[in-house]
């Protein structure tokens, strides 16, 4: 067997699968890219050829433009293909719509690039599927034991409770435009909230895209449509960057909320001026990361973007060979 360290190489452009001549989530334009999911730090434009799930390609078209790469190739979950002798299979990662792990097999060894993932239920995408492998390459966004995301039902219940307690205030929730936004809407709908939800303009197109893929988000309206007096008691979603913006001035004494795994740390919430922190994340928390290492049963783990030290320490103490793999270009606070 050829150990994956002989054929997977971190380069300034991203992780190169040498025998196949392609990169995974490259950060600069390359001849051939495999894209795990549609977040902008993973899915960049300008590649000569890009392969991804049909959902991810649709997201890339919406965010980058009609031609996200010179040539694109859709590949469904669980349909292996060969690229330069390397067998490539996309497997659900449970992160956002279309997100995939990349399973790579070459000369008798198997490596899995997780991309970003989570293990808990998400009504907008199929769940993460653990794949046994020789090397598992994992993200580490929340790889510290202080990050234990609570049940998202409880977090949504807190939001709805606050809306009942402050019926004359707008509830303005910061959400990442892709994934968190649509998941939160689904969770709120599942909790029985059937009123219209108002959206910042930057969120509308992706919600429509999710709908096209059959995800029912209920009654959504552009926030610009609500006259100033109508904001009392309504739920408005906006990208985090526009929370403190002039944009929100028309609203009725808004309760600022933010749905993110970072909200677990009180000082982070405080720093952003968030009054109602909602700990809802699309990344695996500490327990999920540790559980995943058990589930994939890989004798070796490479840890990328995030808090590598802690996960490497944990894996090592469980008898797993582990090392940090430095890949540039992934944002620490990435969506």
């Amino acid at each position: 067997m050829q150990h994956p360290e002989t054929w997977l190489r971190p380069t300034p452009a991203g992780l190169l699968v040498e025998p196949g001549g392609f990169y995974i989530d490259p950060t600069s334009p390359v001849s051939r890219a495999v894209i795990t999911h549609g977040h902008s730090d993973h899915a960049r434009g300008g590649h000569a050829a890009a392969l991804a799930t049909p959902e991810t390609l649709a997201i890339m078209r919406s965010r980058i433009g009609p031609e996200p790469a010179k040539s694109v190739q859709p590949l469904g979950y669980g349909e292996p293909i060969e690229i330069g002798g390397v067998r490539v299979t996309l497997v659900p990662a449970g992160h956002i719509l279309g997100s995939a792990q990349v399973v790579l097999e070459w000369q008798g060894s198997r490596a899995v690039v997780s991309g970003d993932y989570k293990r808990r239920r998400d009504p907008t995408c199929p769940p993460f599927e653990p794949v046994n492998c020789d090397v598992f390459i994992t993200e580490a966004t929340f790889a510290l034991p202080v990050f234990r995301h609570p049940d998202d039902k409880e977090e949504v219940a807190r939001l709805l409770h606050s809306m009942r307690v402050f019926p004359d205030r707008t509830h303005l929730v910061g959400v990442y435009a892709l994934g968190k936004c649509q998941r939160l809407i689904r969770l709120v709908r599942e909790a029985g909230y059937d009123q219209p939800i108002y959206l910042h303009g930057a969120l509308i197109e992706l919600c429509e895209l999710y709908r096209d893929f059959g995800i029912d988000l209920g009654d959504l309206r552009p926030a610009t449509e609500a006259p100033p007096g109508m904001f009392a008691g309504v739920l408005v979603l906006a990208p985090p960057s526009s929370l403190g913006d002039r944009w929100s001035r028309r609203m009725a004494d808004p309760v600022l909320a933010f749905a993110s795994g970072w909200m677990r740390i009180k000082q982070r919430a405080k720093q952003r001026g968030v009054e109602l922190p909602l700990v809802i994340s699309d990344h695996a928390d500490w327990d999920e990361l540790c559980q995943t290492l058990e589930d994939v049963a890989a004798p070796e783990v490479w840890v990328t973007h995030g808090r590598e030290d802690a996960l490497v320490h944990h894996a090592t103490s469980r008898g797993i060979r582990a090392r940090a793999l430095s890949l540039l270009g992934f944002e620490e606070e990435g969506s």
Partner: protein, 526 residues
């Protein structure tokens, strides 16, 4: 603990003062005695558990969690209470809440050796938020954006009494303040307190902002030097004297040479200073005497202390606080001439005469040579009001001194800054074209936007890494402002800066043109 932790978390997240006040009042109205009294004590900083140390909390947590993971987490989160609260392995909830009063009363009686065991048992019973509140309570310093004054204001509003009425009795009562609640909620008459040896809350000054002077009339104000010592209140009567710091803590035991000689009946406001011949010694000298419970005769002789007084609150039994400043000043001068000077350890802080703000501004430039921090402006008609009332007293600090230094090392911050290089070590050249020698560290003074820029610069100019510290190329000049420079034997450079902060980032200035060490050494007062 549930209600208390909910209160603390809401206070932390709520920026508006009025909303905080509403939360506090709701808590006081809904929470039974004695819990609410203890909560009030915690919020006003009155509750101190000398036997509970942060180190003990950390050790308990490190024994329960993997120590390596604990340290990484603490480094990331930056706040001990929050790290422990989040990392603590959850147990089945018992469903039964732990009362704040049970914690406070148990801890008050507990020996230090018992604290870890108690803490562990409690942490197992609580959820993450309540664990956080518990540790905040134990280690002091809640930091939820509530001043002592705001907490007392909530109490006064809850009872529909005046804040001044609460202030008057506050220091004569102890947690959980049952007589206070009984009184303001109308069940009993006001508590009777022996005020003869009681600390009276101080009157504080606002910082003078740019432009304030335009709207103030020189003739309405009196000026004094703002001495660089520690503010003290002398409370002296037939039973002896007590010396309080500005927060109402007793500092007398460290200064027997003063306390033994304060034989009069008065409450006096002044500055504790150390004398160097006829002049006021730098703050550094006073520091030698602070927190020494039993100072030696040599220490007392080397650093002779005295009190420079500037206000008289009580003379004998007579409360002077309602009088205007000028009237109190006349009484003070008369009192100093007799009782004050007779003590041998008191002198009068002189008024600084001036006609207009320009003249006063010139005086301010000379503050440094007197070892004064600047000037105080006091309205001639201002009564002595507890707290920091608006528009009556102003502090006008002397302009900070600055040097142009070179950034040498940057360290990742804590907590909300843990992903930014926000702690900077800077240095000066030994000589033009020589090497850099570090002279201090600065953590603030820059905007968030500047922080992002420096952070980026640090990442792009790193020449070496030591754990969380990066050594950077000697290429970025930072203008460092500081209050004073002092000789130091602990620093390689031989100089220590008081209160250094980043005044400006000199992206434009070549590093070779930054200051040399000699320039800074010349700023050390003789």
């Amino acid at each position: 603990m549930k209600a208390f932790s909910r209160l603390l978390a809401s206070l932390l997240y709520t920026p508006a003062r009025n909303s905080k006040l509403r939360l506090l009042k709701a808590y006081l109205a809904e929470t039974p005695d004695p819990d609410r009294g203890y909560a009030l004590a915690a919020l006003t900083g009155t509750l101190v558990f000398a036997e509970a140390k942060p180190a003990a909390v950390r050790d308990v947590a490190r024994s329960r969690a993997d120590p390596v993971l604990f340290d990484l987490s603490y480094d990331y989160v930056g706040d001990l209470a929050e790290t422990v609260a989040l990392i603590w392995p959850a147990k089945e909830e018992t469903g039964q809440d732990l009362r704040l009063s049970e914690v406070v009363e148990t801890l008050t009686l507990a020996a230090r050796a018992k604290v870890p065991e108690l803490l562990e048992g409690w942490l197992d019973r609580l959820d993450a938020d309540a664990r956080w509140a518990l540790i905040k309570l134990l280690t002091g310093g809640l930091r939820v954006g509530v001043s002592e004054r705001l907490a007392k204001t909530a109490l006064a509003e809850h009872g529909k009494v005046e804040l001044a009425q609460v202030e008057e009795v506050w220091h004569g009562l102890d947690p959980p303040y049952r007589p206070l609640f009984d009184w303001i909620e109308g069940r009993t008459p006001p508590p009777q307190i022996d005020t003869s040896r009681l600390f009276r809350p101080l009157m504080l000054a606002q910082a003078l902002e740019e432009g304030d002077l335009l709207s103030l009339k020189p003739r309405d104000f009196r000026a004094e030097w703002k001495w660089d010592g520690i503010r003290v209140q002398i409370v002296s009567g037939p039973d002896g004297a007590r010396l309080f710091s500005r927060g109402g803590e007793e500092v007398g035991p460290a200064f027997p040479d003063l306390v033994d000689r304060l034989k009069f009946s008065a409450v006096v406001d002044g500055e504790l200073l150390v004398r160097h011949g006829e002049a006021v010694a730098p703050f550094n000298d006073l520091q030698q005497r602070l927190n020494r419970r039993k100072p030696s005769a040599k220490l007392i002789g080397d650093y002779p202390a005295f009190i420079r007084v500037y206000d008289l609150l009580f003379e004998g039994e007579e409360d002077l606080r309602h009088l205007g400043f000028d009237a109190r000043r006349a009484r003070l001068e008369n009192w100093v001439a007799h009782a004050g000077l007779a003590s041998g350890v008191i002198d009068l802080s002189p008024l600084v005469p001036f006609q207009d703000w320009e003249e006063l501004g010139r005086h301010r430039l000379g503050a440094g040579t007197l070892n004064a921090e600047g000037l105080m402006l006091k309205r001639a008609d201002s009564p002595y009001v507890a707290g920091r009332p608006k528009g009556l007293w102003f502090k006008w600090k002397r302009a900070a001194d600055t040097i142009d230094a070179v950034l040498m090392y940057a360290q990742r911050g804590h907590g909300k800054r843990s992903s930014f290089y926000s702690d900077y070590t800077f240095g000066l050249w030994t000589q033009p074209g020589g090497e850099l020698v570090p002279v201090g560290k600065a953590y603030f003074g820059f905007t968030d936007a500047e922080l992002m820029e420096i952070d980026k610069w640090v990442r792009n100019n790193t020449v070496d890494r030591f754990g969380p510290v990066r050594q950077v190329a000697p290429a970025l000049v930072v203008e460092i402002a500081f209050d004073s420079a002092q000789r130091s034997t602990r620093h390689k450079s031989g100089v220590a800066l008081r209160f250094p902060r980043v005044a400006r980032i000199r992206w434009d200035k070549p590093a070779g043109e930054a200051d040399v060490l000699e320039t800074l050494m010349r700023r050390i007062p003789a």
